[in-house]
């Protein structure tokens, strides 16, 4: 696999010692200060996204995966606040590369605005709520183009038509005059992707982009995203709860549970040798299509705890089948590396607690 890489991307540097990192998130913490207490929606999350690659963020509702996506663009509204961490993003400035910490920019600063939509774009689950029902597709796309480029309204419309072409929507000219309600869900999601492409982003944050779509439409959108990724060389942060989708889209995956990453690995290992009991249980609990299983499905005991009352220690311990009393309900387990690209937060693999000195 590794040897084939330079052949596919001939323009990239021949020496591939370490992957170029487009985005590095370090110890990101985003908390919500509500009347009922503090919700630690994202609590010490770290991961890297290599240039042009797809990182999947897998988790159930409430695990903090969407908040992580929003935090990258600093789109966190009160009572939420990013309380710590670094988001290092590699920018290209007149051909020169520089690494900036996005969190150093204010949420309303010109700098972050220039990044939003330009260098980092985002698409969401429900495209209907992201499009204004009162304006035509053309108006909305042209508006997005005009934000990024100083051109005439007419050329913006031309550009909008080109973009619709890019996302393989037929009769683009005709579509420009249509309103969102006249489009199907799949077409609307294509329009959203077209809008995200206006600024040629280097990173696309896709938050459950196909969850609301039918399976045939989903397959089309996933294919489209893959070919656009190849064409534009953009990296994708793919947020989803769907194991099938993540298997198709991502090269590496982080699994989140209650605001923390519990396992981080490449996609093959995730499915072939998952280590964290939560990851394993999650994989076992889905009906595997094509392999009908008689008898009950494997389940995860109990339910996701209240975000106001996160269990002590490893937050999965009340539901874990390998719970060790006195260990798992003590301190938070540290991230343990099993190999260079595979880490897990679980006392089954290391006795190291978070923040504790090594060798304890």
């Amino acid at each position: 696999m590794v040897f084939a890489m330079p052949l596919i991307r001939s323009q990239s540097s021949v020496v591939m010692t370490t992957e170029q990192k487009l985005l590095q998130i370090k110890d990101l913490r985003t908390h919500f200060f509500t009347e009922n207490g503090v919700v630690r929606a994202v609590d010490g999350v770290s991961f890297d996204i290599p240039v042009g690659k797809t990182l999947g963020v897998l988790g159930e509702s409430g695990c903090g995966k969407s908040v992580t996506g929003f935090a990258i663009l600093q789109l966190i509204n009160a009572p939420g606040r990013i309380v710590g961490g670094e988001i290092l993003f590699e920018r290209e400035n007149n051909g020169r590369k520089e690494v900036v910490d996005l969190l150093k920019y204010g949420a309303r600063s010109e700098d972050i605005r220039r990044i939003r939509g330009n260098e980092i774009a985002m698409i969401f689950q429900e495209p209907m709520t992201s499009l204004d029902p009162l304006f035509t597709i053309g108006d909305q796309l042209a508006e997005a183009v005009l934000v990024h480029q100083k051109i005439s309204k007419r050329s913006a419309m031309d550009r909008a038509a080109e973009l619709l072409d890019k996302v393989r929507l037929p009769q683009a000219r005709d579509l420009l005059t249509k309103y969102p309600h006249q489009l199907s869900g799949g077409m609307r999601q294509r329009v959203m992707i077209a809008m995200a492409l206006t600024g040629h982003p280097r990173l696309l944050i896709a938050d459950e982009p196909t969850t609301a779509l039918d399976v045939t439409t989903e397959a089309q959108i996933l294919d489209l995203m893959r070919s656009l990724q190849e064409e534009f060389g953009m990296a994708i942060l793919f947020i989803t709860h769907d194991l099938g989708v993540i298997a198709e889209m991502a090269e590496s995956v982080v699994v989140m549970y209650m605001g923390k990453i519990v396992e981080k690995t490449d996609i093959q290992t995730l499915f072939q040798a998952p280590k964290h009991p939560y990851t394993r249980a999650l994989l076992e609990s889905i009906p595997k299509v094509g392999h009908k299983q008689e008898g009950p499905l494997h389940t995860i005991e109990g339910m996701v705890p209240s975000p106001f009352d996160i269990p002590r220690g490893c937050s999965f311990h009340p539901r874990c089948s390998q719970f060790m009393a006195g260990v798992c309900d003590g301190a938070v387990p540290a991230e343990t590396f099993l190999d260079e690209a595979h880490s897990v937060r679980c006392y089954l693999y290391s006795q190291q607690a978070e923040g504790a000195p090594h060798g304890k």
């Binding site: 099938g244 198709e248 994989l283 009906p287 499905l297 339910m303 996701v304």
Partner: protein
């Protein structure tokens, strides 16, 4: 005893849907002249046996939910019959029953919807919610109703102590259990489930599916199970029916349908499923185009504009649903000639 056992083994039909149609007129102008019809359900026939599950799959707009509502006669059908084999009344045509018969028969058929948040009244306690069908139908009230509610809550795996709480105090999975408890309050024979686990998280979905299967074998229930999740449908169903623009295009025993589909649309659906197996990446050939507008569907076989195997005849003639293999029915002119790929062939 022996004859009784035999009777159990031989599948007894519970619900027979025969040439059921639901067409909505499209009106135009001041006089509301009918200019066409949306054929939401177009000549569907299905037989659901006792203690059996039929899974109903298809893209949104294919008529799955309309079919379920029409079976309950929440929507009055345009044509066709729905025979329900009632234990006391015998065969009843739900589609043409008078209102008092309908009331009686409907006790035996219940529905569970996708969203457990909107199907529970936030101002009613769990006790009131589950006791309501008992009171409305004059079966139990007061203390007796309370006891029955406690029993039902236990049946669905919830603590009876929770009955005085309001829906907001429960998680999505628990709410869906409450919905199921309410559906079971009148001891129905048939439960129509419209995407019952789609709003739930993966880990909760497995619990709910297990519960539904357990209840089925304990209470001898029949399910008509609508879902767009082909993995879930495969897991719960004995038979699977595939709908496309108001018509059933294929129906077969689950394994047969998934491994050896006979209709190109079924093949397309199966190939579109994102499979939780990264080694099988990027091998599928997704179908192009979108589901057609049901107000103006393509001529002949509705699937022909998207079908990779379509020929001239497909534009002209509507294929009939026919048995192409034992127990497997397909509505395609070329089922015999085509060798279609199953879910594991990608």
């Amino acid at each position: 005893m022996a004859s009784e056992l035999n009777a159990v083994r031989k599948p007894k039909p519970l619900l027979e849907i025969i040439h059921l149609k639901k067409h909505y007129p499209i009106t135009q102008g001041l006089l509301k002249r009918t200019v066409g019809y949306v054929k939401a359900v177009d000549d569907v026939s299905l037989t659901l046996n006792e203690a059996q599950t039929i899974g109903l799959v298809g893209e949104s707009g294919s008529g799955k939910s309309t079919l379920a509502h029409t079976v309950m006669r929440g929507i009055t059908p345009t044509a066709g019959t729905v025979i329900f084999h009632d234990q006391t009344r015998g065969a009843v045509d739900v589609a043409h029953a008078d209102s008092s018969t309908l009331r009686q028969v409907r006790r035996n058929m219940q529905m569970v919807f996708q969203d457990p948040f909107s199907s529970l009244n936030p101002r009613m306690t769990v006790l009131d919610i589950i006791a309501e069908p008992l009171e409305v139908n004059g079966i139990a009230k007061g203390k007796a109703a309370q006891e029955r509610v406690a029993e039902l809550l236990q049946l669905v795996g919830l603590r009876p102590e929770y009955m005085r709480r309001y829906p907001h105090a429960f998680s999505g999975g628990q709410r869906q259990r409450i919905v199921v408890a309410r559906a079971l309050a009148l001891n129905p024979r048939l439960v129509l489930m419209d995407e019952p686990t789609s709003a739930l998280d993966v880990s909760i979905q497995a619990q709910t599916l297990n519960l539904l299967k357990e209840l089925q074998s304990r209470l001898n229930l029949s399910y008509l199970f609508i879902s767009h999740d082909l993995g879930v449908v495969e897991h719960v169903s004995d038979l699977v029916a595939v709908m496309y623009v108001g018509r059933v295009v294929e129906i077969a025993p689950t394994n047969q349908l998934y491994q050896k589909p006979q209709h190109p649309y079924t093949e397309a659906l199966l190939s579109s499923i994102p499979k939780p197996d990264p080694t099988r990446k990027k091998q599928r050939i997704p179908i192009t185009g979108e589901i057609p507008n049901p107000a103006n569907p393509p001529s002949g076989c509705h699937f022909h504009p998207r079908c990779p195997y379509a020929q001239e005849v497909c534009k002209r003639e509507t294929p009939l649903l026919r048995e192409v293999k034992p127990g497997q029915f397909s509505a395609c002119h070329f089922s015999e000639e085509l060798s279609l790929k199953g879910v594991n062939d990608y």
